[in-house]
Amino acid sequence: MTPSFREFATARRAALRRTAYLMCGDWHLADDVVQDALARLYADWPRLAGRGPVEAYARKVVVNGVLAHRRRPWRREVAAPALPDVPDPRSGDGAPAGADDGTRDVLLRALAGLGASQRAVVVLRYWDDLPVDEVARVLGCSTGNVKSQAARGLAHLRDALGARPDQEVTP
């Protein structure tokens, strides 16, 4: 049975927001994008709900929202070689519990170094755990493209994480 919009939004908005955050690195932007996406979903709900699961559509709208935001020239994120005001990983200041070994900052920096679509592929593939063909459908590209982008993104992150002085990855 197809859930109501309210049931769907209540159940899925947090997951969509996390996906959006990992793609853009900004909780406020993730909130805006997910809210926009869910509002569009609400407007189209009678049409979409009769056609089966709407999860894929919602994810696609969120991904497109983040990518469209990155394309806007006045808001384009500029990849910087170093993050300003990075807290000392050993001090624990500003770092959440369980992430005080610096992995979090290294990973944030490494993610910021990926291109927008490559980052989207990495997040959808390894965070949302979507199969390659589903990622290709969401991004509107070929499965070969997804595979190559995922491999390159993984290699980039591996290099970034492997370049840490302690050579550790502790999720």
Binding site: R6, W27, R158
Partner: protein, 234 residues
């Protein structure tokens, strides 16, 4: 604990690459989890989203009505000019040949006035066709509308009806092949060639839903004639 995400060097052992990537992907997924662990509270509620969604729906509806009115005005203007507007030399209409919409005033969804302008009343045709288009399954499309498309009497038990050209793929749509009827329960008849019963039911329900949001007006209702202002000299 120290974990080596790449126990085997993929460059030296290509056969081990998928397994290494899989392991690395799993570790990356877990590492990404640390980034969302400090998730701040959400700044919006589902009610906020529903409110924005309703605004969006209203805005879209207004846009569609505006476009529909614009099309009707343009069609009326073209008909007026092609009928031989005074002072327009380009109009050389052959008597007896209809150019442009041929619907009678009682059939149109707009209120006509002597200047040829038209505003939508009742249930605009474009609303119905937009709803039909939105509800059609993949592979089925709405064809070009005939120039004389208009609401017609719906027959026993129905308020009004309109012909809907539907086609599958790139096939040429059959004009008048399907008939959409508005009534207590809307129906799409004659679409057997391109839609099954469930799909036809879904299309009819989609139109019925939009018609209901308009308050289920009678599309064939003739708007009241504009009142003539009293003559001050009388």
């Amino acid at each position: 604990m120290t974990t080596d995400p790449y126990p085997t060097d993929p460059a030296t052992d290509p056969a081990a690459r998928p397994a290494a990537d899989e392991t690395a992907g799993a570790l990356l997924g877990a590492a990404l989890g640390t980034l969302v662990r400090d998730e701040p509270p959400m700044r919006f509620t589902v009610e906020d989203v529903e409110r924005r969604g309703r605004l969006l729906q209203r805005r879209r509806r207004r846009t569609r009505v505006g476009l529909g009115a614009g099309v009707l005005v343009a069609a009326s203007g073209a008909a007026f000019l092609s009928a031989g507007a005074p002072g327009w030399q380009g109009a050389q209409r052959t008597p007896g040949v209809a150019l442009g919409p041929t619907a009678t005033p009682s059939q149109t969804t707009g209120t006509g006035d002597p200047n040829g302008t038209s505003l939508p009343v009742g249930f605009p045709l474009n609303e119905a066709f937009v709803a039909v288009q939105g509800a059609l399954p993949d592979g089925v499309r709405l064809g070009d509308l005939p120039p004389d498309v208009a609401w017609e009497p719906g027959g026993p038990g129905y308020v009004a009806a309109v012909r809907v050209p539907l086609a599958r793929g790139n096939a040429v749509p059959r004009h008048g092949g399907a008939t959409l009827r508005l009534g207590p329960r809307c129906a799409l008849d004659g679409a057997d060639a391109v839609l099954d019963d469930v799909q036809a039911r879904a299309v009819a329900d989609a139109v019925c839903e939009v018609w209901t949001t308009w308050g289920r007006p009678d599309p064939l209702a003739v708007p009241p004639a504009p009142s003539t202002p009293p003559d001050p000299a009388a």
